[in-house]
Symmetry: C2
Subunit: 436 residues, 2 copies
């Protein structure tokens, strides 16, 4: 254990050194690495290796499923095919086209003559990413780490071990070809390694957790390092009395049924009295799509054939074709319901009344607040971030979809000519604080 | 205990509601509150009440000190006099003059025709500030909370209970006069209240801890809420071989002796061979000012009368007139020493060689990195932030001196006209991602 800890710490430190070289080169040089990675993933020989590794992982997984040891959903998530790999290539090229997140100056201020302060973005240092089955996370996360000049320690799911290893080998060889130390990316293999990683406070700057809610929660509870968690999404759609019926139906269907397992899918539909026509149309359309509706007593009074919800159905992430429905007295009631039950991820209103929409957008405390648009737009790619490490429901550092910009920090750089603080103050020199 | 918990939670929720009203009004309205607070602190009758409360606290503290129950340093920190109050008024007015941190748009992007995304700053919600003796923290922190539109739960030191209560009463009455609910600011009194506050994950968004290292560490360990900690500063000054001797001496003296207890004072002086003349001059000047020097064997060889440092003296925050001194082989050696022993607070180089300075500034991983300037400039007021809640050595969210800008978060606001995510993708509509 202690020697394993030493090995992992050494890998994290090597990732810091090698990553810092990525952070110091120019934006175009980092961009070239991303483009070369996309090219490599398109080369038939290299892609073939990845696909063969994936086939081997899937054969084992199929066998495990047949023995009843692995769920089919997990087996499905393992799959990496030409279409998915092509999507990853496109993603890397998009990321290469994004503005450079490093070296941005957000404050440039003369404190006094010849005493110049700048606040400049820089890499965080070393990211540790722990994720479950999905191997397509590897190129995305490596791409984001390279773009943001960070070293990377990766720990993927055991079921995808061969695929992850093949992907990391390919991506590391591109780093080496481009003149960088491949130690910038380290891959860990053992499940027990996760807990060791979460203890390396001085060697890892940010932990990114992707996977099931239970897995993410374990990481959050266990880690002494800040965690960027792709956590629970309990999203609501509120039908205002001014809601356009057709828009309400389109949005409700998309938000619930286009990908029910997504964190940006809705779990609860809220409606006020004047929105009854929109409600009726939504419930009919949702039921036709096979959505199970669990409704409050007021909704039940209007739709007696539906199932009565329990208190436990509100504030719950179903992650499937189940939707809770609640009547609220008015906009203020919708805001109270969302404040009580929401997870501060994404909340939406359907309304033609601009004042009502403005009030909803001003008052809801969530990472994303939408008007007349599906909650499913809450996504790094759709937002134009190029890629995302996840959608953060934490309010600090980065909120909502987090791209490369969320993987940097700032430093305050001060250039002087021998100035000392004791020369400033009442009756002495005064600061000029001139922004440039 | 449980009923105390309910009381505190109710206060935090009231602070959220009342604070959110502050967050929704215009910047000038929040600014007017700060100016009215400064005016109130200048009114002789109101100021008199605060001074009398402080005199009572100090009388008790003096008695406790005489009984050997309280350190003199703590008694000293209690003092609030006309000069300090005037400084606080000036600080509030400066803060009022700062740009508004709320409602800043950092991304304004058309995802598609009629589908507009903006990322906008907004208040965090409720801040809990736990701090030790110094009552002058109260108006500063209240000012920052008002500026950033946040509700506030304050817990000060027991020794300053009357002073804190008088200050909060004054500031709350200004809030009421300006048409705001004074519940935006809540003052807790019991030591046991701190641990209750640290458990209120859903009701408090950020904990700010100010006080001794031990106190701050307790809060960090105990809290389930993110903590902005004004933590340890182990700062270094490196004398490069190109160092100007006079600048080196000025900076070393200021950085060590102007306020040795400050977190931005230096704890270790590093020098390379070619900087020996600068070293000699610094050590002579520091010794004349009563600084105890604890030196490495190489330094001892040059200055045999000094005291040999132990390994324990490096990476240590003395907080007093003690300075460790170490020879390093070169700039790279200085970087290694800082990486090993520094607390990532503030690091400085004295050098006339611009290339060496540029390398130091590029490579040191710390909140503040300075060239030819005293580490004592690392301060919110000196940086022109108007005020600070503390100097964060964490890399996430806010780094270095943290002003009102560090007390906000962002929300992603999306305005559409019924758009749904399923309409976009390969073979369907494409996002435009046009920044405006």
């Amino acid at each position: 254990m202690s020697s394993r800890r030493d090995t992992i710490r050494a890998a994290a430190r090597a990732a810091r050194r090698a990553g810092s070289a990525l952070g110091r080169v120019s934006g175009p040089e980092r961009r070239a690495v991303l483009l070369a990675m996309a090219d490599a993933l398109e080369r038939p020989d290299l892609r073939g290796k990845v696909l063969r590794a994936n086939a081997a992982d899937r054969a084992d997984a199929d066998a495990a499923r047949d023995r009843g040891e692995l769920a089919q959903a997990l087996v499905d998530r393992l799959l990496l095919d030409d279409k998915k790999l092509q999507g990853l290539c496109d993603g890397l090229r998009q990321l290469a086209g994004q503005p450079d997140p490093i070296g941005r100056v957000s404050i440039d201020r003369e404190l006094d003559d010849g005493l110049v302060l700048r606040r400049v973005t820089c890499p965080l240092g070393v990211l540790a990413v722990v994720f479950e089955a999905r191997p397509d996370a590897v190129p995305q996360i490596v791409g984001l780490a390279v773009r943001s000049g960070n070293g990377l320690v990766l720990k993927g799911g055991r079921e995808a071990a061969r695929t992850n290893a093949a992907l990391v080998e390919l991506l590391r060889s591109v780093l080496a070809d481009q003149g960088f130390d491949p130690a910038a990316i380290a891959l860990l293999e053992d499940r027990a390694d996760v807990d060791i990683v979460l203890d390396l406070e001085r060697d890892i700057d940010l932990v990114i957790a992707r996977g099931s809610s239970a897995f993410v929660h374990h990481v959050q509870t266990r880690s002494r390092i800040p965690v960027l968690a792709h956590a629970e999404g309990v999203c609501h759609l509120f039908l205002h009395e001014s809601a356009d019926v057709a828009k309400a139906v389109r949005i409700a269907l998309d938000a619930k049924t286009s990908y029910p397992a997504a964190c940006n899918a809705i779990e609860t539909l809220l409606w006020e009295e004047g929105a009854a026509p929109a409600l009726d149309a939504c419930l009919t359309a949702l039921a036709e799509q096979g959505v199970e509706l669990r409704v409050c007593p007021d909704t039940l009074a209007r739709h007696p054939s539906l199932k009565l919800a329990t208190e436990n159905d509100f504030g719950r992430e179903f992650g499937s074709l189940v939707l809770a429905v609640s009547h609220v007295p008015d906009l203020a009631g919708a805001l109270r319901h969302i404040e009580t039950y929401g997870s501060r991820h994404t909340e939406a209103i359907v309304a033609e009344d601009e004042d009502a929409a403005a009030e909803f957008l001003a008052r809801v405390d969530a990472a994303c607040v939408f008007h007349n648009a599906s909650t499913r737009f809450a996504d790094g790619y759709r937002f134009g971030l190029g890629a995302e490490v996840g959608i953060s429901t934490s309010k600090l550092h980065a909120r909502g979809p987090v791209g490369a910009e969320g993987l940097v920090t700032t430093r305050w750089l001060l250039h002087g000519d021998g100035q000392i603080a004791a020369d400033y103050g009442p009756g002495k020199r005064r600061f000029k604080h001139r922004d440039r």
